[in-house]
Amino acid sequence: MSILVNKSTKVLVQGFTGSQATLHSEQSINYGTNIIGGVTPGKGGTEHLGKPVFNSVAESMELQPNAALIFVPAAFCKDSILEAAEQGIPLIICITEGVPTMDMLVVKNKIDQLGITLIGPNCPGIITPDEAKLGIMPGDIHKKGRIGIISRSGTLTYEAVKQTTDLGLGQSSCVGIGGDPIPGSSFIDMLALFNDDPDTDAIIMVGEIGGNAEEEAAKYISNHVNKPVISYIAGQTAPSGKRMGHAGAIIAGGKGTAEDKMKTLQSAGVHVVDNLLEIGIRTQQVLD
């Protein structure tokens, strides 16, 4: 019915008592997410949003969390991710933006060694409609369904979600992998999970200019994915060499342009739309 998270996922929030964490944890709890507690060093033993607060992830392990949702400031993300990873929490979602690349290099190598899944940083998180919302996406635009959505961008994901919801297709799960140079999970990691998920019929992949994540995904799709993939690449009109907000969105020397990416995806059998507003419609057409 979903990938990575569902009703029974026990979520620990790191940086629990911060303002962003409080806002979004509350929304997640209201959505029905099983948030079991949180960590804020120095506030162990207190309660927050009706849930227990711990000084460390180690202390929280008595509640057996199997997902960690991280809202700590960028300078402390490396530490928080590694703390959760050391305790063997198998799924870590880091929402925070602005994490130094050098920190992510270390983190990525370590979590790969440990076999842990990291989503983010600099991402909206992951949601399985009507089951669990681990992130900052608006819950009410989602609808339980059979489309898997993967995206490097936050708000652009919401567009794809809204279109599939409006058309009645709904989503199995939606994952924002984040737009940073070294993300915890790649398109490929999520494509593999959706491809194996019996309750996902088609996959929407929202990419953007810069890097070569979409090109790598194209190769993977043509070799391993047997479900239809629909894709939109943002930044078709971005001028070359200009930085468009995301660190990932730098076009370097003819590589990583929207045009290149779209061509490569098309050759891999992906249904590529050149208009953002056609993502939902095309998905419906592909499934009909």
């Binding site: 050098m102 708000t155 919401y158 078709q236």
Partner: protein
């Protein structure tokens, strides 16, 4: 964040990478002293701007007398340098760097980058230095050599030996290369760099390795822990609008069209530009108000967009996730009132509190068109821009 060559070379020197001592001049009176301090009878003068391609437009020159040095300084200081890599306005020159002239035996290429695919730092080297390396990579990929730095073990001598052999260095140069290789990686990590390019890395006529040029990009996300480097930022080299935006945590890039855009999220901002273009319009800018947009930031964003006289209409596209649409609406209303806006605004609000936001806009009795369908909103904006 970019650095000037002289700043990059200062960091190089601090990390024991072989660079020349240099001297900076900001006016022609300082040339004589610079030449005297450096000594010798030939000097290289280099304009300091955040752009490549200086040499081809006369921004780098070999000088053999003080008069020509003064002439070069007067020619450049206070002017703007326009090269292939700048926009049509060019970059302002306020500093010229003077270096001793070094005899070149051979030009090589060396760089360090964060390698996204390998999840590592990669070192790139080539025997073809001083030229456009991307062309070499395209036409002669076998002339480019790579070494990946493993995080557990760090840079290893065998990697440096492998590159030394590929670059046909002799035994003495191979030793120098190992030190350079090792120090380059240390500097890259310690300073949170995202790119270092030494093009050319030269072999001098005495047979030593020497970094003749130095280009450095820093990871902006890491500046909070690199305060010394953050202080090297030269705002004069950046677009004043983009600068002003970034001071308010806004991402702004000026473009050539006439439809001003204000969007939350970099992806959706690009998507909005694409949509405008798809329906026949021309975006005037990229502007991401960010995830935690406040009323104040929205107002600031408006002012930045309106500083561009080409803008004939503003399209606001907000999909509220973190952002609450009612706060955005409040910001828009405040900004329109404050700036006594005369150009039309089309607003599309979706997501978190979008209904509330739309209602506020309608009740405001200001000339704001509200349409929650992006296609319609884009088409309206295009129409209004004509």
């Amino acid at each position: 964040m970019n650095l000037h060559e002289y700043q990059a070379k200062q960091i190089f020197a601090d990390h024991n990478l072989p660079v020349s001592k240099n001297f900076l001049v900001t006016n022609s009176k300082e040339v004589k002293k610079a030449f005297n301090v450096i000594g010798g009878d030939k000097w290289v003068m280099k304009t300091q701007v955040h752009a490549g391609g200086r040499g081809k437009v006369g921004g780098v020159k070999l000088i053999d007398n003080i008069e020509d040095g003064i002439k070069f300084t007067n020619q450049w200081i206070g002017k703007r340098l326009i090269s292939k890599q700048t926009d049509e306005k060019g970059q302002p020159v306020s500093v010229v760097m003077v270096e001793p002239c070094i005899e070149i035996e051979k030009e090589l290429y060396l760089s360090a980058v964060v390698d996204r695919s390998a999840k590592a730092i990669s070192i790139i080297a080539s025997g073809e230095g001083g030229v456009n390396i991307e062309e070499v990579a395209e036409t002669n990929p076998e002339k480019i050599f790579y070494e990946k730095i493993d995080l557990i073990i760090g840079p290893q001598p065998y990697q440096a030996r492998r590159l030394s052999e590929a670059l046909h260095l002799d035994a003495q140069q191979s030793n120098e290369f190992w030190n350079l290789f090792k120090n380059l990686v240390k500097m890259f990590v310690d300073c949170d760099m995202s790119l270092v390019e030494i093009n050319p890395l030269i072999i001098t006529s005495e047979g030593h390795l020497h970094c003749l040029d130095a280009k450095v990009n820093l990871d902006s996300n890491a500046l909070f822990r690199q305060s010394n480097l953050a202080n090297m930022r030269d705002l004069s080299q950046e677009d004043p609008q983009e600068c002003e935006a970034s001071n308010h945590d806004l991402s702004y890039v000026s473009l050539d069209g006439n439809i001003g855009c204000m969007v939350n999220g970099a992806g959706l901002a690009m998507g909005t530009m694409d949509t405008i273009k798809f329906y026949g319009g021309e975006p005037a800018n990229f502007l991401d108000v960010g995830g935690a947009a406040t009323k104040e930031r929205v107002a600031k964003a408006f002012k930045i967009i309106l500083n561009d006289p080409k803008v004939k209409v503003i399209l606001v596209n907000i999909f509220g996730g973190i952002v609450r649409c009612d706060l955005i609406a409040e910001g828009i209303i405040a900004a329109v009132k404050e700036t006594e806006l005369v150009i039309p605004i089309v607003v599309r609000l979706e997501g978190n509190n979008s209904k509330l936001g739309s209602d506020m806009l309608q009740k405001s009795s200001l000339a704001i068109e509200s349409d929650n369908d992006l296609e319609n909103a884009a088409k309206k904006a295009i129409l209004l821009a004509e």
